[in-house]
């Protein structure tokens, strides 16, 4: 049984292929970094898995169930998606934004006690307690990103799909995000994160998917996937890899 299984996923915008027969499977809760150049199809892949791209060939299974056979609600109970687009100009508080993650859990007009408990847990994990009453739009970019991740945490789905959540984060927030993701992984979640922070992907992820021109070029542990030659072939810039005495891997480019 796999948590996530992709079988020959292909997808095109008009006549331009975006994904070309992507096949992969994840059996255990892991932190998977999805990397690749701009336009490689990373977001599209995330969108297919989260059910936002209805037209594709091949299949995507969550816990061995084809997502084509799930309703939107069922799918969102399995996988929580944090999109790449920024959400701005909404007149809601941090609490209210986090509670949107509970939408798939009930059809009622109001949140249940269980929903409120999940809110507390999510706020604790993401350390957003002090900001809970603040208006979302008044927060910094890093804080906003943390709130969106908190909403996905509150959704309590076994799979988290994060599309470049770290794009606007400074080093401290970036590191905290990866700490949080590692903790969520340890709690038993599978996390797929799209990122351009290759050094963090090398250091902190369990597995790396390298996507290039819609093809999955590598699906391996960071050590295996992120050899400088492979990266140079995909990103077209020279890469330098360095391991220090403690065995820490450093990756640099340009």
């Amino acid at each position: 049984m796999s948590i996530l299984r992709l079988e020959g996923l292909s997808c095109a915008y008009g006549s331009t292929p975006v994904l070309r027969s992507v096949t992969a499977a994840v059996e255990h809760p892991e932190l998977v970094a999805l990397i690749g150049p701009n336009g490689a199809g990373k977001s599209t892949l995330i969108n297919v898995i989260s059910g936002r791209m209805p037209e594709y060939q091949g299949s995507c299974l969550l816990h061995d169930v084809d997502i084509r056979r799930m309703s939107r609600r069922q799918l969102c109970l399995q996988a929580a998606h944090v999109p790449q687009q920024r959400i701005d100009d909404i007149p809601f508080s941090v609490e209210e934004v986090v509670l949107t993650g509970r939408t798939p859990h009930g059809r009622g007009l109001y949140e249940s006690g269980e929903d409120l408990a999940a809110l507390e847990t999510a706020l604790d994990l993401t350390r957003l307690g002090p900001l809970r009453k603040r208006r979302f739009s008044s927060l910094s970019g890093g804080e906003q990103q943390r709130v969106l991740v908190a909403a996905a945490v509150a959704q309590a789905s076994p799979i988290l799909l994060l599309d470049e959540p770290g794009a606007h984060l400074d080093p401290e927030n970036q590191t905290e995000l990866w700490d949080l993701l590692a903790m969520l992984r340890d709690q038993g979640r599978l996390i797929v994160i799209v990122t351009h922070h290759l050094h963090l992907a090398t250091r902190r992820s369990d597995r790396v998917w390298v996507l290039n021109e819609g093809r999955l070029m590598a699906d391996a542990s960071p050590g295996g996937a992120l050899g400088p030659e492979q990266l140079e072939a995909v990103f077209h810039v020279p890469f330098h890899r360095y391991t220090n005495e403690q065995g820490r891997v450093f990756l640099n480019y340009g």
């Binding site: 944090v82 959400i87 809601f92 949107t100």
Partner: protein, 331 residues
């Protein structure tokens, strides 16, 4: 952090409903009693002619129509703002009202010389509103990078085209028809038969209920499609449903009253400042607050220059126009 988180929402929604329903009831009680030609309240109490008849057959149905129309315009304005995530999205700004007007004017000018054949005007207004909604939905579906800015610009174009068509029909029409059209276009609340009111209520009540019961979903939808879809919301189905609901409300009321500007814009904005943006509180407030607002505007319209009556559309436009500009300024 004092108040227990979120516990207040249910009671806030409840109180918004109670308070604004009370305001609407108060408007309904007071507005029919105020007016240019003062009513003799003693005769009214004794139910004597003519004051009792004026109250029962003119003033009361008029206040009821204002209440229903105001509710419909405010609720559909609130809904469109959530669906399009834009403060300026209202049925009028998107061209829905203008298209409904064009439909109604076609019906008026092609009908026989009967006074105003309501069912036909209603049908044509609905078709007009419906066509614009189809256009809006198609635009939202086909363009991948569709923006509300595009929609609002489209709305301006639709408004212009419909107005031109209306003027064309008006100039082709005979003098009687032309008068009817002009009168209708000014947008006004008039005394109507109770049977008409009943039809309006029967059509709009289920739509109101449908919209209010989805308040939590409209909240999520106002974050944008990407976010809402990741939270289990079928955005496509719900947006289409919401647009149809708004078009039915707007088309139905416009058929009876003619276009009434800015209610769908002013009321949601003022209420959002008063009660917050959560639709579970905002929608009940808009439902009754919008009704009360239009009933009061209508009373002002027929009292302030009595015995001359200003069409209520003029009053709302004079209030709403500057408000609209101020909103644009603030963005």
């Amino acid at each position: 952090m004092g108040e227990p988180l979120y516990a207040g929402l249910r009671s806030r929604a409840f109180w918004a409903l109670i308070v604004f329903a009370a305001i609407a009831l108060a408007a309904l009680a007071v507005c029919p009693l105020v007016g240019g030609s003062g009513l003799d309240y003693q005769k009214l109490v004794r139910r004597e002619r003519p004051d009792w008849n004026i109250f029962l057959q003119l003033r009361l149905p008029r206040a009821l129509l204002a209440l229903l129309t105001g509710s419909a315009l405010a609720v559909s304005g609130t809904l469109f703002q959530a669906l399009l995530r834009d403060a300026l999205a209202t049925p009028s700004n998107l061209g829905v009202s203008a298209a409904a007007s064009l439909g109604a004017v076609i019906a008026i000018s092609t009908a026989g010389d009967r006074e105003r054949p309501f069912p036909l005007v209603w049908l044509f207004a609905l078709v007009g509103a419906g066509l614009v909604i189809v256009l809006v939905v198609l635009l939202a579906q086909t363009t991948r990078r569709f923006s509300t800015f595009t929609l609002l610009l489209t709305g301006i174009a639709i408004n212009g085209i419909c107005l031109a068509a209306v003027l064309l029909l008006n100039s082709l029409a005979g003098i009687t028809k032309s008068f009817q059209i002009t009168h209708w276009l000014m947008g006004g609340i008039e005394a109507v038969e109770y049977s008409t009111l009943l039809v309006l209520l029967v059509v709009s009540a289920p739509v109101f209920v449908w919209i209010l019961l989805r308040a939590r979903t409209w909240n999520v939808l106002s974050y944008g499609d990407a976010w809402a879809e990741g939270r289990g919301v079928d955005t496509r189905r719900l947006s289409i449903g919401g647009f149809i609901a708004g078009a039915v409300l707007t088309g139905t009321m416009t058929a009876v009253t003619g276009p009434i500007a800015f209610v769908g814009l002013i009321v949601p904005h003022l209420l959002r400042r008063l009660v917050g943006a959560d639709h579970r509180v905002l929608l009940p407030a808009a439902l009754f607050g919008g009704g009360a607002f239009l009933a009061v505007c209508d009373t002002i319209s027929r009292s302030v220059l009595a015995p001359v009556e200003i069409p209520v559309g003029v009053t709302t436009a004079l209030l709403g126009g500057p408000f609209f500009v101020w909103l644009l300024w603030k963005r």
